[in-house]
Subunit: 263 residues, 2 copies
Amino acid sequence: MLSTDTLSAGSNVANRANRSQITRALLRLRELILTGEFEAGERLSELPLVERIGVSRTPLRLALAALEHEGLLRGLPGGGYVVREFTQADMSDAIELRGVLEGTAARFAAERGVSAREIRSMRAINGRIERLLTRTDYESFVLYMNANDEFHAKLLQLARSPMLERALEGITSLPFAGPSAFVLTEALLPESRTILMLGHSHHAALIEAIERRQGARAESVAREHARIAVRNLEVVTRHRELPAAFPGASLIALPTPAEREPA
Amino acid sequence: MLSTDTLSAGSNVANRANRSQITRALLRLRELILTGEFEAGERLSELPLVERIGVSRTPLRLALAALEHEGLLRGLPGGGYVVREFTQADMSDAIELRGVLEGTAARFAAERGVSAREIRSMRAINGRIERLLTRTDYESFVLYMNANDEFHAKLLQLARSPMLERALEGITSLPFAGPSAFVLTEALLPESRTILMLGHSHHAALIEAIERRQGARAESVAREHARIAVRNLEVVTRHRELPAAFPGASLIALPTPAEREPA
DNA sequence: GAACGACGCGTTGCATGCAACTAGTTCCTA
DNA sequence: TAGGAACTAGTTGCATGCAACGCGTCGTTC
């Protein structure tokens, strides 16, 4: 097809940068899904996507399969994929599961022991978070998100368990289940500072529990910490008029049970 | 390739039965890996596999990608796949994680409530398990495995959480992490009956806790239940001369002396 | 003798053509 | 008029050819 000519100059460069057409298709597809470009439940046919994304069917199919494994798509029995939709119960369960797994990470870290150096590193990240709490501009929220993600990544690392990393990755790959999924939405709420400070104190308790090798405490604190996100989810879904909502908000299914399919 | 002619008659029949060449390749590859046909760490090149399995490269690649998501293969940075190897720590962590997630399933079931009918159904399965414990023939062990798998599947179902199902599936897809992974190995041990009876009593406690809506108890019983498998793993790896060992035993990496840590 | 460059082989990534299947529609027949 | 059969459009499944890449080897040159 001729239109690839116009793309190829750019795409071949991005090609090497992105490593492959598969990656390119994966990133673009994920972006399209998460920005609500497709209806929840809409069928994704290959040929239209080929035109839209600019890769051929082979890498596109691999990307679609990857997104199915990731949970954003659902395969149809007769072939083909549809955009998966999530109920609010799905979302809050996913967040609760993140809490369970992060709780296990915290428990492992406490039980297996971490060096004083690593404790200091955690405290340093949490100190950065604390300083960011006093600022209310948009950029500080972005910096907060980064620091928060860093804290959670570091916690996972302290558990020293590749299997746990894999399991947690399977959950946080869902757009609404990550540790910072609701931070930017939260910024719009009046009580946001209170919530963020609560999170900060959870972090501090988590560090202390790990340092003192209190596994059960570390686990339960991490679980409660995740439930902040459950509360945010409930707030956001109650005010569906909020502008940007949150990543993957377009995938939420209408809560009416009558809408459920007979199959 | 000409040899497809000889295969096509048979494979086309199996084709429809297996639903697709991808499924065919997936099942065959998994079988080859788990029976130890490949070395742990061995590179799997596509062309030799095409000859060996009898499907073309396209569905084979899809199957390889699926096995990577499943965790049995590891993708190389330059392309291609190698058979993943697991340390004993990986295996025991995976089992512990199954306990954590099954514990969450048990807690959800207790917190959300299950009908008396479902409690009876669980008791019925556990009753079948109890009756099978008195028999020591091979076939009874197979029946035991089926009933045990059924019990664990039912437990997961009672949690009523698709997200939890997905997360648990990600763990139990590893061959050594499933609830019945070590049953057949265990049959060879002198203390097997004692172990199986312990498992049975765990099941009974689990049912009772769910019935009484004791979430914390249900969770901790399920965790402890999974640790039976950790103990079995330790026994088996200590006696590496055991014949069939367990599914995926060929994937275990030899522990480097540095990894033997003070208990 | 050592180092560097070119060539060849094996490998994966990708694009595309063809076949099979599904669903919807129209037309024919009872 | 109602039911069924055939046709058509759209879709995915699959096989294969080609190109690019990495790597080892061999030859040449300094």
